[in-house]
Every structure is written in structure tokens, then in C-alpha cells.
Symmetry: none
Subunit: 244 residues, 2 copies
DNA sequence: CGTTATTTGTGCGTATGTATT
DNA sequence: AAATACATACGCACAAATAAC
């Protein structure tokens, strides 16, 4: 009956996710059992199990046969795995971006140098990123003029407050194919601006990820500096010993 | 090789994983369909779907309704030159390790769970790591009993204050060859103990890296939790779009 | 000590929907 | 239009782990 494009299990998963994030099961109490949820939502037990799968993959809960389902005591959050450039672009799949400072031309010697530009003129845009309606990341993007100028026509980038489900690097990739990226990861204390945007206290540790993207001619086409809230985000990588 | 304790879907998943890593589906060819695998393995289509779930979660394949199942061409393995298991082992080349708490048997439910152990008994050792005589990292290592017990004979691990130029994972690798590792990175505030060991103020942001190493049978053989001083250490990775 | 009830895990069969070819 | 292939959803049965008695 419901015009919901979301399948049943996704609705159940979202409902449970909200309750968990609200702290309804904080004291080690178990979540409702499969049988209970199946009754209250009026679906089969298999559908409830399908909903729990998502929560387990997100490391939001763990399940023990014979006992029940429990929220993880260690901070869960949004986990993404970035092992390749495509993984970075796939970020748009389940997150939305909201413009804080629209795309404009600015003078920034540091950013220009990291982009390998002789001039100090770069195009910059600043935005936050959400998953499940909560902000987990604030990002500043710097682009060389030849990449940034054509993007000035995109209302998603030039309108303050605009929300859209895409990645800057996805747009850049249509102009200049990305071949590789250099990435460095460190920890730092949240400053005044970042703390306000992420909704945390000044001085809170945040994860800082700097990425420089290069096209096939090995010219830098984007510098992205992101600050992540650690309790809402974990950076995950799989490492292999050898290639197939 | 396959143990009868493993469920059917795990056997199918392992079989597919081996074929994928061997490169059987490299040229964009689709994997066998659910119906085909269900016939060849003599199981229901649901069981095949359950096997594919694991591969999708591991981002080894992606599935397209109406088309089929395909291996991701940008697997983590492609970044091996820059962020691989061997890189982690090479850490010993220019750093030294100093034992803070020697290798002992402890009860730790959390560590045991992450190692996939049914029992809570694990072997644990805690140490700092130096580069150029200054500490940049404090690490806690947890090992399953069958790996940890044989290491109790190593004086470098059981003597408080002992300094030596090696990595735990290097030792573990001689007992059980490491095939892959899962790594998650986040930021946190230094607690009392970590702050003292790293020589920083309590509350300072530190980079926390959790790694779980797996052998060729996909059994966890080591959990290492490291805290890095951001001003002395930055984590760098190069990401590639495709193979060079 | 075993017994029993509860809860999750595995596996099967079926039906229907949706996207692709 | 038809066939193919994955997605969702229901039903059922039994196994295994846990906890309470």
C-alpha cells in the first residue's frame, strides 16, 4: 500500500538505526528479538533478519545465538572502505553534500602549491557531508582554474545550502579522467569553524584526510581536505599480500 | 582443506573467492549466475545468494539486476606497492620496539571476538615504537592462543624494557603466512596511559589504527591496536584507478 | 546434572517484482 | 515481446548456542 520505494527490510533497518542512535538500547539491553519485530512490523522473520544484516555490516550491532542482538559498545558510526579511486567516487551512493561556502575564485598560496600551480589563484568550495541525516564530515576542495571555472555553472556547487547526492571528484572526473590519488591521514583537534560544522566541542579529535587527485598526465586536478567526526566515521582499508 | 564445520554458503564463498583471486573473471566476464551455481554445488538459490552476500560486503564483486555478478576491477590489491602487508612488516627496518607489558595470557572478550575466538583467552603484549630515539607510537597486540603460546619463549617479547628491531607480525608470519589484513583508522583523545607512553598531554588527538591480520585460510592471527602521535607520524597511501 | 525454552543460524521451497538483454 | 538475472518477501524445518530451572 505504501508508495515507499524502499523495501520493507530497509524501513525496519532505518527504524532500528534511529532507536539505536537515540540511545534506546544503551545499557547492554538486548534489542527486540526477530520474532518480536516480525510481529510488530507484520513481516516474516526472514525480512527482519535481512534488516539486521545491514546493521551488522555497519558494525552497529552484534548478534549472539541463544542470547540476542546488542548494540556495539565501541563507537560504531559510518564505515567506508577506500582502497581505490572508484571507492572514493562511490561515496555519493549513500551520502549527501551540503554547500557551506559556494564555489568561488580565491587566492591561496598553500593550496596552489599543492596543486602544482605557479599562480595563487584557485577555485574553492566548502561543504559538509551527511549519512542518515547526520553530518559526519566537513570538506574543503581546491581546484585549478581550468577545472574550477567550468564548474561555476553548476547550481549544486554555487548555491549556499544546496544539497545533492554527488562527489566533486565525480564531476571533475568527467572533465579530466582521474588516474591516481595521493592521500595522507592524520589526527588533529577541531577548531572553531570545524567544531560548529560538525556539531562537536572545540578540541575534539577529528580525523583529517588530505587527498590530491591526478589525471592521466599526472597533473593535479583537485585537492580535498576533509575532517571526519571519529564517532560517526571510520576509515577502513583491506590490504592484500599479493595481487591475483 | 574445507572443514565440515563451515556452512555450505561459506564453502561456496571460499571457492568463488579463490577463483576470483586466481583471476578467473578478470576480463569483465560475469561470474556464474545464481541458478548455475545452485546447480553445480547442489544447493538452493538462497544459499548461493548468502555466499554472494559475503563477497559483496568484502567489495570483491558487485551485482547488477538483469546482468549478473562481476568482480570489482579496482580491488584493494591494486594498491599493493604503496599500502600492503609487506609495507607493514617493513616497519622494522628503521624503527625499534620496546616492551612495556610483556607477552602474557589475558582474558579479553572484545579482542577475542575480533579474532573470531569462541573463548575469551588471548595472548597480549604492549609496547612502544621509536624512530630516531623518539617514541611515535604505542601498540597493543592480541594473539590467539595457538599463535601466542609458542611466542612465550621469545625473550624479546617477555622481558620488560627489551628493545629490538622487529615487528610482531613478522614473527607471526613465520608460523602462519599472512594473506591479508583489515585496517580501520580513526582519531581519538590520548588517555592517561597512552599520553604517558607517547609523552604528550592527556586529551591530545592521536591517530588510532586497528589491524586484523588473516592467514591463507582466512583465520585471524593477530589484532594490533596502535596509537600514533600525529606530529611524528602521518599515514600515507597512494590510490590507483587501475593497474599500471 | 540434564531438560527445556528462547534466540539466532542455516537451508530449502515458492512466488512475485524489476532491470537488462 | 520474451528470456534472463538479480531483488524482495513469504513460508517452513531443523541445528546450535545460551540461559534458566
Amino acid at each position: 500500500m505504501s508508495r515507499d520505494r524502499d523495501p520493507e527490510y530497509a524501513i525496519i533497518a532505518r527504524s532500528l538505526r534511529e532507536q539505536i542512535l537515540r540511545g534506546d538500547f544503551e545499557d547492554g539491553r538486548a534489542l527486540p528479538t526477530e520474532a518480536e519485530l516480525s510481529a510488530t512490523f507484520g513481516v516474516s522473520r526472514q525480512t527482519v533478519r535481512r534488516a539486521f544484516q545491514d546493521l551488522v555490516v555497519d558494525r552497529l550491532v552484534y548478534r549472539v545465538p541463544g542470547r540476542g542482538t546488542f548494540v556495539r559498545h565501541d563507537k560504531p558510526g559510518y564505515v567506508r572502505q577506500f582502497g581505490s579511486v572508484s571507492d572514493l567516487m562511490a561515496l555519493a551512493e549513500d551520502t549527501t553534500l551540503q554547500i557551506i561556502e559556494p564555489l568561488t575564485r580565491v587566492l591561496d598560496a598553500g593550496a596552489a602549491e599543492r596543486l602544482g600551480l605557479s599562480d595563487h589563484s584557485v577555485y574553492s568550495v566548502h561543504f559538509t557531508r551527511r549519512h542518515d541525516e547526520s553530518v559526519f564530515c566537513a570538506t574543503s576542495v581546491y581546484l585549478p582554474p581550468d577545472i574550477g571555472l567550468p564548474l561555476m555553472g553548476e547550481p549544486e556547487l554555487t548555491t549556499v545550502g544546496a544539497r545533492s547526492p554527488f562527489t566533486i571528484i565525480g564531476r571533475v572526473d568527467t572533465h579530466a579522467a582521474i588516474a591516481r590519488a595521493e592521500q595522507s591521514i592524520t589526527a588533529e583537534a577541531a577548531g572553531l569553524i570545524i567544531a560548529r560544522e560538525l556539531g562537536c566541542v572545540v578540541g575534539t579529535p577529528v580525523l583529517r584526510v588530505d587527498r590530491v587527485y591526478f589525471d592521466s598526465s599526472d597533473h593535479a586536478v583537485e585537492l580535498a581536505i576533509s575532517r571526519f567526526l571519529p564517532e560517526r566515521y571510520t576509515y577502513r582499508i583491506n590490504l592484500m599480500r599479493s595481487t591475483p
